[in-house]
């Protein structure tokens, strides 16, 4: 029971550090291992990039359309015509919708679990959310197609009626809710666990002193959260969101099951249609010939680059905010 008290854990790191450094051989092996795995990771990433670029180059050299602006995917035809405009648009828009819905909810749940919920409720609630991450995406897809899509009809009509003036929520084409908007909602549910659990961990790391100092100054619980928890956790929440965004960008089966694909770009997100990189690869791979597969790989390369860009941007944001967050304190 003594181990449950916080004091030993506070002093634990220095103790283990001193015991670890007694064996110099162990240090060297560990350093070698970690350096090795770091290099291995870079090599794997580089070889993926080389492979994708090589296969993509074959396809791009024969493409009769413009790879960036063509609204079509006819890679197995003769002559091949294909472009990623629709896929890029669909991937980005559905991910933005997912982020817009998931991040506030996830932060809310994380705050509730870490600061508001009674202890008895917090743990089970945290695990229920984490369990969402264990559900395979095809199950989300089936659930989305059979339950979510029919249920969203009413919401779509409501959005069209009251928010139709925004252009984005105007519904110009009749149809079931097999749209990018529905995909966004589904993706939001799918990325909720990762964003929530990382945010929760970060919120729990807020130095006790900061919170107690704020309380001592007479702040309410909400003021404590606003003044010490949120600023401290901001960079953590951003990293969590980026992890979620990574999943949303690459999600395949759930999107393929729920979306009614078409090669059209429309900002009317309630209309059926559109497509994403991963969904298009899953849908077209089976019936593509050798060349068609190269073309799909070319589109995969764009997704690869997109993910790299997003992660790079996230690193930049975090690096800029690190000084203010108190994470170094």
């Amino acid at each position: 029971m003594a181990s449950t008290t916080p004091t030993p854990t506070d002093t634990a790191p220095p103790v283990s550090r001193s015991t670890g450094s007694t064996g110099r051989a162990g240090d060297k092996i560990f350093a070698g291992l970690s350096k090795g795995s770091g290099i291995l990771l870079l090599v794997i990433m580089a070889s993926i990039a080389v492979f994708l670029t090589y296969r993509a180059a074959i396809a791009l050299s024969k493409n009769e359309g413009n790879f960036l602006t063509t609204f079509d995917w006819n890679a197995s035809a003769d002559p091949p015509v294909f472009g990623i405009a629709v896929l890029l648009f669909g991937t980005v828009v559905s991910s933005i919708i997912a982020m817009a819905i998931a991040v506030p909810i996830a932060v809310g749940i994380a705050l509730f679990i870490s600061h508001y919920a009674p202890r008895k409720l917090a743990a089970p609630l945290a695990y229920v959310v984490d369990l969402l991450a264990a559900v395979p995406s095809i199950i989300y897809g089936i659930w989305g197609a059979l339950f979510l899509v029919p249920q969203l009809g009413g919401l779509n009509l409501w959005l069209d009626q009251y928010l139709g003036w925004t252009y984005v929520f105007e519904k110009t084409q009749i149809g079931v809710a097999r749209s990018l908007f529905t995909v966004g909602i589904l993706l939001a549910i799918m990325i909720l666990p990762i964003v929530t659990s990382v945010s929760r961990e970060v919120f729990l790391q807020v130095p006790r002193m900061n919170e107690e100092a704020a309380l001592a100054l007479g702040a309410t619980r909400w003021e404590v959260i606003r003044m010490s928890v949120l600023p401290f956790g901001r960079s953590g929440v951003i990293s969590a969101s980026m992890l979620g965004l990574g999943r949303a960008l690459g999600e395949t089966m759930a999107v393929a099951t729920v979306l009614s694909p078409s090669f059209l770009i429309s900002l009317h997100v309630l209309n059926p249609g559109g497509g994403t990189f991963a969904q298009n690869i899953a849908a077209k791979f089976d019936e593509a010939n050798e060349f068609g597969r190269d073309a799909l790989i070319a589109s995969g390369l764009v997704l690869f680059l997109l993910t790299l860009l997003v992660n790079g941007a996230a690193r930049l944001i975090i690096a800029r905010r690190k000084d203010f967050s108190g994470a170094n304190a």
Partner: protein
């Protein structure tokens, strides 16, 4: 810490239980479904076993392709495997396009396709069929049903031009004048029409668009192709998903093989062909239309040219013929006996009889005779 860890363990055990429980339940559910759909689409014919010759068939035969003949192949495989023990036929129903790709990569013993091989595909097949080439054997005929789901409407007559305008996004409501005129005495609601097409490359799409192009050239400006060309509408992958959407959505219309309509009890459109009365989508009516087809392939290739504009009484012109694509010479030694014996069964009288009982149409007798010759000559 200890306390928490214990909780954690307990919670994850509980979670595992819930998840595995759910998995077990879903597994049961899907089992039941296959059983249901099997019995709904018809019982396997009891006579079959005696007619099947298994000579030399052994091991596992992989095949893939058209989802149009999925339900027919499933029954054939069931009967065949019951008669020939130790043989496993595994047909992956995907799409015609995928079947031919798999065939030309040499991964399957035969492929199912709703449209005959194109010249370049024949050329490609010569790499796989050493000394021979890929040929088309018409094996399953059937009507493409236009399934609809409109509340309060049980019977619907349409002609080719109206169908073309519906799928072309020109007619938008069910109480449109053009539809009213074809359906006197039927009260049509003002529900918006939601037209569903295939999102994957499909022989069913190609046959529908060939029909529309031939029977209503003014209303259907697009080329006939496996890929859907018209604007608007919604899409789904595979006949089964299109049928599922039509079943689910009020105001929907979509196209798929009749067997999908009958197994999910979806109402189908009667076509106004110019014959004395509108023609229903049935196996018999499709057979009448297929009987007018001519063989357009050369040698042992039996690709058919269908007549989509027939006005014969009781002939349903919106039909497709599914071919089994095999090598005439140069089939793989290990699968050849199984391919021969299986196709021998499917083209036999017993095999063709299974079709009519399940919403498909048998291949007309004189063409079927040539198919049997071609199967016997496979090497």
């Amino acid at each position: 810490m200890k306390l928490q860890r214990k909780n954690r363990l307990r919670a994850s055990a509980l979670g595992a239980l819930v998840v595995s429980g759910a998995l077990v339940l879903t597994a049961c559910g899907s089992d039941d479904n296959t059983k249901d759909s099997g019995s709904a689409s018809g019982k396997p014919s009891a006579a079959a076993a005696g007619d099947i010759k298994c000579d030399g068939a052994k091991g596992k035969l992989l095949a893939s392709g058209s989802s149009a003949q999925k339900n027919a192949i499933e029954l054939w495989v069931k009967n065949y495997m019951a008669a020939c023990s130790g043989v496993e036929v595994n047909y992956k129903s995907s799409s015609s396009g995928e079947g031919i790709v798999a065939f030309n990569q040499g991964t399957v013993g035969f492929a199912g396709s709703d449209s005959a091989l194109k010249p370049e595909q024949v050329e490609e097949s010569k790499k796989i069929c050493t000394g021979g080439q890929g040929i088309d054997l018409p094996m399953v005929g059937g009507p493409i049903a236009l399934g609809f789901n409109v509340a309060g409407v049980d019977k619907l007559n349409l002609d080719a031009a109206t169908v073309a305008n519906i799928f072309n996004d020109k007619i938008k409501k069910w109480d449109d004048e053009a539809i009213k005129k074809l359906n006197p005495g039927v009260t049509l609601p003002s529900t918006p029409i939601q037209a569903f097409h295939r999102s994957d490359d499909s022989g069913t799409t190609e046959n529908l668009t060939k029909y529309l192009k031939a029977a209503a050239p003014d209303a259907w400006p697009h080329e006939a192709a496996k890929k859907w060309a018209a604007p608007g509408g919604q899409s789904a992958s595979g006949s089964a998903s299109v049928a599922a959407q039509v079943k689910q959505v009020d105001g929907a219309i979509g196209y798929f093989e009749l067997s999908f309509a009958s197994s999910q009890s979806i109402k189908t459109v009667d076509l106004n062909t110019g014959a004395a009365a509108p023609v229903a989508a049935t196996g018999e009516n499709a057979s009448k239309a297929i009987a007018a087809a001519k063989v357009s392939g050369t040698g042992s290739d039996l690709a058919l040219k269908l007549d989509y504009t027939t006005k014969a009484d009781g002939a349903y012109p919106l039909v497709l013929v599914t071919y089994e694509v095999v090598c005439d010479k140069g089939n793989k030694a290990e699968t050849l006996p199984t391919v021969k014996s299986f196709l021998n069964y499917t083209s036999s009288d017993a095999g063709q009889k299974v079709l009519l009982e399940n919403g498909y149409a048998p291949i007309p007798a004189e063409i079927n005779a040539k198919v049997r010759e071609a199967v016997a000559a496979l090497s």
